[in-house]
Symmetry: C2
């Protein structure tokens, strides 16, 4: 009989991050995570497929935010205006907790398997955005270029956001990166 | 005693590609590849670490071409002028054999493990280019943005090049993608 546990997924995520940071990702088991969270392994598997997915559980929400931003952009928005809206949507979702983002990045940078999973996640996001732009009538190769450019900005801006001391919001850093890119590629 | 085999690596690569296409990557062994090439497994391992690396043996040459293009760019070239030179360098290397590139892409698209390896290769190229731009004095985040933009163009342009019927050179397709990107992101 499954007992309802308040905020089980949040507790598991926190426990996992603490253990990955303390003893390393490889050295942590699902049993360790559940124990630290005061829950059972069975409860863990109700929320996450494995210990890796604790770090990537936000991927679907990220795809959702991206699609919503594209859907809600004005009909006459240019592809790069849609990209700007997508950057805002992504920032609203992952820009809330810089300490968590930093901790997560340290764990990922230490583990090739996680770096690969992160690359796959971002590549997939680019494809989702490309297809969403196509669905709005943006033709190729513009849809692909705009989508890849958006992800380039996310990669560079996110890295900047977690590695600076100033307290700027992620949304501002992404917007600034977009402006810098515009200047950079101006012929 | 190792017998010298003329063009062993080329023969192994051709044999591997033929087998990956005929029976699939997963179903092909190093022994199969060596046999098809009329060589021994021992000879195979003199050239390639494993059957996957047959498809990625060009990665080092690609990094070399990228570094050379950056090194040889005029001192006063803008970051995007350096990027244009890098695109030419990459095209000169991988743009020679469209049939091979197409076959290779079909094999990669069919196998998640190979898609991951390709993503890692391209992400690594972006870092190499970013660092080479930094070494020229390009500051952050411009170095990262220019490097990610270059790889965005390679991804989109390469995909376009192998999926169109017209006989344009890869260098032309990449240059065109760069021009389209400039138009696209112009404020």
């Amino acid at each position: 009989m499954a007992r309802w546990e308040p905020n089980a997924s949040g507790r598991l995520r926190e426990a996992a991050m603490a253990l990955y940071t303390e003893r390393g990702y490889e050295q942590t088991t699902v049993g360790d995570i559940a124990e630290r969270a005061g829950l059972t392994a069975r409860t863990f598997f109700r929320y996450f497929a494995d210990k890796r997915e604790v770090l990537f559980a936000g991927s679907e929400a990220l795809e959702g935010a991206l699609r919503s931003a594209v859907d809600e952009a004005p009909e006459d928005a240019s592809p790069m205006q849609v990209v700007a809206a997508v950057l805002d949507g992504i920032a609203a979702l992952i820009g809330r907790d810089r300490d968590y983002s930093r901790q997560r990045q340290v764990v990922i940078d230490a583990t090739p398997e996680l770096q690969e999973r992160e690359l796959i996640k971002l590549a997939r996001l680019a494809l989702v955005l490309r297809d969403a732009l196509r669905a709005r009538g943006v033709s190729d190769p513009e849809a692909g270029l705009a989508a890849e450019t958006a992800l380039a900005i996310v990669r560079v801006g996110f890295d900047r956001w977690i590695n600076t001391d100033d307290e700027r919001e992620l949304a501002d850093v992404l917007r600034e990166s977009l402006a810098r890119l515009e200047t950079l590629v101006a012929p």
